[in-house]
Structures are given as structure tokens and as C-alpha cells.
Symmetry: C2
Subunit: 174 residues, 2 copies
DNA sequence: CTATATCCGGATATGTAGTATCCGGGTTAT
DNA sequence: ATAACCCGGATACTACATATCCGGATATAG
């Protein structure tokens, strides 16, 4: 049981996207350099997010990505499912129907208890992920992150972003 | 995010082990044929279960596997961890510490909110799996499985098992 | 209109899970 | 005592998923 690296990257990228002004776009390459991850592979994750309707792509010069909806309306689960795919982690291969002791397939009305227990666990897993939104993660940046870190990130991004409709907003709620 | 097939097989095997008399042993090859799965790979999963102390191997003629403890003292989580490994599904690569905006590593005292949320979800996932025991799965066989299926399985196993200390017990609680 | 910067999709490598086969060590029934 | 049987580990091979790279399409800025 393993989660791909793309999930972590996508979540970090969505977090910075949520911290920027709503209409500010940021190229995939800048996101990659910012996080120190290979830009080609991150681009693929961003495409998956785009297909899922989580981010919106703006082509052409000074284009890039931005969140497609409000950060509070996007849960971590949405991002995970978009990147990792919607299939459940546990695949029931209906092993009961194989082997010498199998009976007619039509008689297997209820799923076996094993698959049921697995899917139950996966359900609470998803519910927990669905309870946290990108907005929560963004808010946490103000409280949990070193101010020096934040400042350093802001000036680095400001240099590298095209002339936005609004400049990068420093948190004002302090 | 994907769980290996071995998890399913191991759970099914442990369930039939739990349905048998406590001292009855079954060879790995019989378990494989019973479920219609490749015996070589199932043997690997059984070894993992043995190392984890979930099943006990009995060598020699008429040997095989049996549960190492009572079925009620073995949770689904135990089996999953034994087969799949104890590592968490989400690996935080501390992407914050890379890239141009990183500060001194010592300043990262708290784990990032992303990893925290992921681990929280994984924790409830494991709690849910830990709440169901092999004993529960065995009990469910009596209620949820077609009687014809059960009978067919019993006679097939009886033919193939060496002279046990006690014969295969048909459920008596009906 | 041209050039640049960006997204998008297919093609390529690398790694991990799954499969099959073999031999040695140890234990039990005959 | 002997032979049959079973686990345990090592090895080699295949298939699939993950990770990576590169060229084409497209829209904007000047």
C-alpha cells in the first residue's frame, strides 16, 4: 500500500495556489522549481488536476494554473482522487468463485465480509480526507510556518511571476 | 494507492484457518488449490504471516499451517500489516526543505499540515481495520454464505487433509 | 504578424509487484 | 532407519505501474 509522490506535490502546489490571489496564474515550471521537484512529472499531475476540474489552466504567455473554485470548496480527498485515480485500494477479485469449492456465481449475492471490511475502512479514510479543505491548509500556513520562510517564499515568487492583476498578498490577519 | 493481491489471499486463508479446529494444520499448497491462486506466491504470503507470528508452521509429514493464536485475537489490521509491511502509505518527503525558499532545517519543528492530515486519515483507516477480527469473519461464514458452498468446501477439504486430531467441524450453533 | 511562453499528449526509462522454479533443513509416518 | 512430506529461502523472469523526457499545439504580448 503506497501513495505516489505526485499526491504530495499536487497538495503542496494547490496550497500555494490557494494562498495566492484568486486570479493570479502560476506556470507549472515555476511551481516545480519552487518545490524542487522535476517539472515534467509535476506537469503531468497538474494536467490530472485540470481534467478533474480542480485547477484551471490558462494557456499562452503569462498563463499558468489557478484554482478552479474557492479553496474552501476543495477537499484533500478531491486532490488525492484526481491524482491517484478513483479506484479503491482494495480490489476484490472474488476469490470465492474460483477453486474447486465454488458454486454458481449467481448465488454470491452479498460481497464477502473481507471486502466489506476493507471498503468500510477505506470509506472512513476518505471521509477523514474529505473533512480537510485546501482553505484549512492555507490558514495553517499563517500559524504553523516560520515567518522567515513565508517572507522568503513571497519575494521569490514575486520576482518570478508575471505582472499579476494584484500583487501577492501578504497575510493581513496577523 | 493500491493494495496487493496477497492481502486478499492471506485474509481468505486465515479465515478458513480460523474455521478449522484449532490444531488442524493445512499445507500451503492445499490452501492455494482451494482458492485457485498460484501456490508459489501464496507461499510467500504465508511465510510473511509466519514471521509476523500470526500463523504457526508445522513441518514434517502431515504438517502445514495453523493459527498461532485465537481467531478473536487477530485483527484484519494484523494481517494487512504483516503482508503489506508496516510503512505508512503516505511518505512525506519534506518537500518544504527543498527549493529556493527553504530555510534552515532545524526550523521545521512541526510536520507540515499536509502530512498531518494524511496520517490522520491513515490512522482512522487502521483503527477501522483493527476493529474487525478473524473471528468476526468466521462467524459471518455461517450467516452470509450459501450452505451448499460451505458443505462443498467441507467435503473437499476433508478429502485432502491428513487424518486430523479432530475431524472438520460442521457449524453446530445453527 | 511574429515570437515567445505556456499547456498538452505521447513516447521512453526505471522500479516494484507478481509468478514460477529450484534446492536445502527439518520433522514425521511407515 | 528410511523415505516422504512440508516449510524456508534464494534466484530468475514477466508484467504492470510509476516516474521521466521530449516534441507539438495554442494563445497571448508586443
Amino acid at each position: 500500500m503506497r501513495l505516489g509522490d505526485g499526491v504530495e506535490w499536487a497538495l503542496h502546489c494547490c496550497t500555494v495556489l490557494g494562498a495566492l490571489p484568486p486570479e493570479q496564474t502560476i506556470p507549472s515550471s515555476v511551481l516545480a522549481e519552487f518545490h524542487g521537484v522535476p517539472s515534467a512529472y509535476l506537469a503531468k499531475q497538474m494536467q490530472a488536476l485540470s481534467r478533474a476540474g480542480i485547477v484551471q489552466s490558462v494557456p499562452g504567455r503569462n498563463g499558468g494554473y489557478k484554482l478552479a473554485r474557492a479553496a474552501d470548496d476543495i477537499s484533500i480527498l478531491d486532490v488525492v482522487l484526481a491524482v491517484e485515480g478513483p479506484e479503491p485500494a482494495f480490489r476484490c477479485t472474488e476469490v470465492r468463485q474460483q477453486g474447486p469449492s465454488a458454486v454458481a456465481p449467481a448465488r454470491y449475492v452479498k460481497p464477502c465480509g473481507i471486502a466489506a471490511a476493507m471498503w468500510r475502512a477505506e470509506e472512513v479514510f476518505r471521509q477523514e480526507l474529505d473533512a480537510t479543505t485546501l482553505g484549512d491548509l492555507v490558514s495553517e500556513l499563517d500559524t504553523g510556518v516560520d515567518p522567515e520562510q513565508t517572507e522568503k517564499a513571497i519575494i521569490w515568487l514575486s520576482q518570478r511571476l508575471g505582472p499579476a492583476t494584484t500583487p501577492v498578498n501578504t497575510p493581513e490577519k496577523s
